[in-house]
């Protein structure tokens, strides 16, 4: 893993993924360790993402490293018309590792090809967001004590949600049974379903939540965005059918936990928040430990 870039969740083997998750457990027990004191990490956010950036910067700071970078492209040389290649080449001179968020798909892979230091993709357009995927895996393993043979119910926008795509692909390595709940317009794309089929795994598709909730070990909720619909009437029709509320969680498995990549709008009612099944806020906290483990692994300390 040392000096390796992480662009897509498929870049890591099952062993490397498990290595990160195991290391993250150690950081959870003791988050503050000065092991990156001699390192500079660049966080290049060509589009704003407060949550992801703060999580990375918190991870670097807890390890004693220094952070340089910018928080959106308006405050960088991109505004002057500099190419991505030139920005990356320049930043390589100043840092030991680059964390990058960029609105264009494929930008992170390109950056890793021109960079002389490893690159961590913190989201490239609608394509990949592998550290979110790692923290989802960590949260699943932590709440279920395993990753193998689970039933996972994905609800909401399965078409455009990149966190859903990455997690489905990653969970294909663990003999998962998939329950996919979405409006017809927002079904899981065939390019992602292809991975499920390749591994001959069981999957079921639903347009209503009712049948898929009792089977779940994990419910992974996502937000349905109005702008995804070409016909606003269609949105109005479905917008209230994919909301998880307390009364829907009466018939569930005892080990079931609800995950959500956040930010949430209204797709999980607030009356779920204080139920023991609600795990989405702890899930976000796990992101710091996973990113610490990843930074330490890639920088070889």
């Amino acid at each position: 893993m040392k000096n390796k870039s992480l662009i897509s969740i498929n870049d890591f083997s099952r062993e490397e993924t498990m290595q990160v998750l195991d290391r993250a457990m150690e950081f959870e027990k003791m988050p503050t360790r000065k092991i990156l004191e001699n390192f500079v990490v660049a966080t290049l956010f060509f589009e704003p993402s407060t949550r992801t950036r703060l999580s990375f910067e918190s991870a670097v700071n807890r390890l004693g490293g220094k952070v340089i970078g910018f928080t959106d492209s308006a405050s960088s040389s991109v505004k002057k018309g500099e190419s991505l290649k030139d920005t990356i080449k320049t930043v390589c001179n100043y840092s030991d590792l680059i964390v990058m968020r960029h609105p264009r798909e494929g930008s992170a892979r390109f950056a890793s090809e021109v960079a002389s230091v490893p690159v961590i993709n913190a989201g490239d357009g609608a394509n990949q967001h592998p550290t979110q995927c790692l923290l989802d895996l960590y949260s699943i393993r932590k709440t279920q004590q395993r990753l193998d043979n689970l039933h996972i119910t994905f609800i909401g926008d399965l078409k455009y949600g990149r966190t859903v795509h990455s997690l489905v692909i990653a969970m294909c390595n663990f003999n998962t049974t998939f329950h996919l709940v979405s409006p017809v317009e927002l079904k899981l794309p065939s390019s992602v379903k292809m991975h499920i089929k390749e591994k001959n795994l069981e999957y079921h598709q639903y347009t209503e939540m009712t049948d898929a909730v009792p089977k779940a070990d994990i419910i992974y909720m996502t937000r349905i965005q109005k702008e995804r619909f070409s016909d606003p009437m269609e949105y109005e029709k479905v917008k209230n059918s994919y909301i998880l509320s307390r009364n829907m969680l009466s018939d569930i498995k005892p080990n079931m936990r609800v995950l959500h990549p956040l930010p949430r709008v209204n797709e999980i009612s607030e009356d779920v928040d204080d139920m023991p099944q609600a795990y989405y806020f702890e899930q976000a906290l796990n992101g710091v430990y996973v990113r610490q483990a990843l930074l330490a692994g890639i920088l070889g300390v």
Partner: protein
């Protein structure tokens, strides 16, 4: 085939070089571009809209004193999957084979995803061929799949 083949030819024969036959009529200039023949200095004969038993109309290229490596000639398979390559030495056919779709496609095709970084920065496109029958190319950058129906050549 015992007759002198030169007598039947609509495009003159070449002494040494490569003939690329059975090119779809509309793709001939694409093939010229993919093989970078615009800059080639020796004689090239181009036949367009010739009658073909198999395909109705076809194109043909005869390139003097030029011999292609396999990976070079296979680049044209995306634009001209039906093409055959014939190697000529001293007016005789010494090799004949169909072009094959390569495992990787570099530079020739544009990624169909408008938000792909390759459509916004000066980047050479690169694709993994994930389905040779249906012709599906997965972008090495944005990971989206460009298929036959939305394929644009650079």
């Amino acid at each position: 085939m015992n007759k002198d083949p030169r007598k039947e030819l609509k495009v003159s024969a070449i002494e040494n070089g490569t003939v690329i036959d059975h090119i779809p009529a509309h793709s001939i200039f694409q093939v010229v571009r993919i093989l970078n023949l615009e800059k080639y200095e020796s004689q090239i004969l181009i036949g367009m809209n010739l009658d073909s038993h198999k395909y109705g109309k076809k194109g043909i290229l005869k390139i003097s004193n030029k011999f292609f490596r396999n990976e070079e000639i296979n680049k044209i398979a995306l634009a001209a999957p039906t093409a055959t390559m014939i190697v000529i030495r001293d007016f005789q056919i010494v090799e004949k084979r169909n072009v094959e779709i390569p495992g990787e496609v570099i530079r020739i095709v544009k990624c169909f995803n408008p938000n792909c970084i390759t459509n916004h920065e000066n980047i050479i496109t690169r694709f993994r061929v994930i389905d040779k029958q249906e012709l599906k190319l997965q972008c090495a950058y944005c990971e989206k799949i460009t298929a036959k129906n939305n394929m644009v050549f650079i």
